[in-house]
């Protein structure tokens, strides 16, 4: 029965070791999918390359379907899987900052390390900026502590909020993902000439 760490099937050290290997695998797949190129990443915002959307949504729906089936078979207790708590205000503000940084810098935090790993100089500059941001956030924390903690909603799940069963919601999300893939590929064809 999973999650392995919660049910003491593995120690927390083994957990970290597994995370280490999974992290390396994740980085490798990111790099191989072309995520170390900020041109490719920025393509998402201009429409000429929607690889980001396709890779991440594929990962999300595959993992979601896998987890739901694991739960169905009694291999995984979804109720003890950690769900990141929602702080609505900071989630919105963070999304805006992260999106703006993504467009300006051409990376998101994970892919910047991926690109740095293959020696991209712009990625090192991006990471420098990232650490400056972390420094400002932590040192100035008392100033925005209230804002940071505003709009706390616990750990809601979208399907519970809109009153759907998790299975139906998952199915709709899969359909929505394929709809987006289709729209993305349409956009790729439409904007292909403009930006390459």
């Amino acid at each position: 029965m999973g999650p392995l760490i919660v049910y003491d099937a593995i120690s927390s050290n083994t957990n970290l070791l597994l995370a280490f290997f999974i992290g390396i695998g994740f980085g490798f797949v990111l790099e191989q999918s072309g995520f170390s190129s900020s041109r490719k990443l920025a393509g998402m915002f201009y429409g000429y390359d929607t690889t980001v959307l396709k890779v991440f949504f594929t990962a999300a729906i595959v993992a979601m379907t896998g987890l739901l089936f694991f739960s169905l078979f009694g291999w995984m207790n979804l109720d003890v899987v950690y769900v990141n708590p929602t702080y609505l205000t900071s989630a919105i503000a963070g999304g805006v900052i992260m999106g703006a940084g993504f467009i300006l810098g051409g990376f998101c935090p994970g892919t910047s390390f991926c690109a740095a790993a293959i020696g991209k100089i712009d990625a090192f500059v991006f990471i420098g900026g990232l650490f400056i941001g972390i420094f400002i956030f932590t040192e100035g924390y008392p100033l925005w502590e209230g804002f940071h903690n505003a709009g706390f909603m616990g750990s809601p799940r979208v399907n519970e909020m809109i009153g759907l069963s998790q299975g139906v919601f998952a199915f709709l999300l899969i359909l929505a993902a394929f709809g987006m893939f289709w729209a993305g590929e349409w956009a790729e064809r439409k904007f292909a000439g403009n930006y390459r």
């Binding site: 396709k54 729906i61 169905l72 207790n77 069963s165 299975g167 899969i174 359909l175 893939f181 289709w182």
Partner: protein, 231 residues
């Protein structure tokens, strides 16, 4: 909803490679759709209760009950209260009247009858704090623990012996006899220190005027052990 994408790009990107086998000819998106959409359909049709295997097995609960792992001793709780340990969350499962008359410091009142209400779920079902249920004895607190445990909630515990034993052990501890081992004195001293830290002087003065004089000679040693235990 799924059909338009299939027809649309099935014709498009693969036109260049006609010689390769069928698997490679299929657009990866369509292949993914062929696998994931039926799986999504199955998941959508499976009843929710089967999917959400939230409940802990009765065997596991029985094992926990027989090992008594849900109990926390009054000394541990008292120590955490005095340290102002932010992890501790005391939960009073008695009625609100009783709660207003007397409660332990920092406790919230969740009457046993309300324990399953959605209002309290965020408090009971979390993995950050240590919830300690208490009632007058330990029966109601234990019932609260059992109900929440069956929901699969973790980090909930029961104050051993309830408030009755708390009064006996912490507020009104019996002084150890002169022949008791050092640990007994240490525990007694600790309990009295806790009690005064919790503002229990009135009780201490009325009931415990006699105990201090009898054992002045042992005092230094007691302190040393107390510090060891406290840290």
């Amino acid at each position: 909803m799924s059909t338009p994408p299939v027809t649309h790009s099935g014709t498009n990107p693969v036109t260049g490679n006609q010689n390769i086998n069928v698997m490679q000819k299929i657009n990866p998106r369509i292949l993914l759709a062929i696998i994931l959409i039926p799986m999504g359909l199955i998941i959508a049709m499976v009843p929710e209760d089967t999917t959400g295997s939230r409940k802990v097995s009765t065997e596991q609960i029985l094992q926990e009950i027989s090992s008594g792992s849900q109990f926390v001793s009054p000394d541990e709780v008292a120590g955490m209260i005095v340290e102002n340990n932010p992890v501790l969350q005391l939960i009073d499962v008695r009625s609100s009247n009783e709660f207003e008359n007397f409660s332990l410091p920092g406790a919230v009142n969740i009457p046993l009858t309300d324990i399953l209400s959605a209002e309290w779920r965020d408090i009971l079902d979390q993995d950050v704090r240590i919830n300690v249920f208490y009632s007058n004895g330990s029966v109601h607190a234990n019932e609260a623990w059992l109900l929440t445990r069956q929901q699969g909630y973790r980090n909930n515990y029961v104050l051993q012996g309830g408030l009755n034993y708390w009064m006996e052990a912490i507020v009104n501890p019996d002084p150890p006899s002169n022949l008791s081992p050092d640990e007994e004195f240490a525990r007694y001293d600790f309990r009295r220190a806790v009690n005064s830290a919790l503002g229990g002087e009135t009780v201490e003065r009325t009931v415990e005027a006699p105990p201090p004089p009898p054992m002045p000679s042992i005092r230094p040693r007691e302190r040393a052990t107390v510090v060891q235990g406290g840290c």
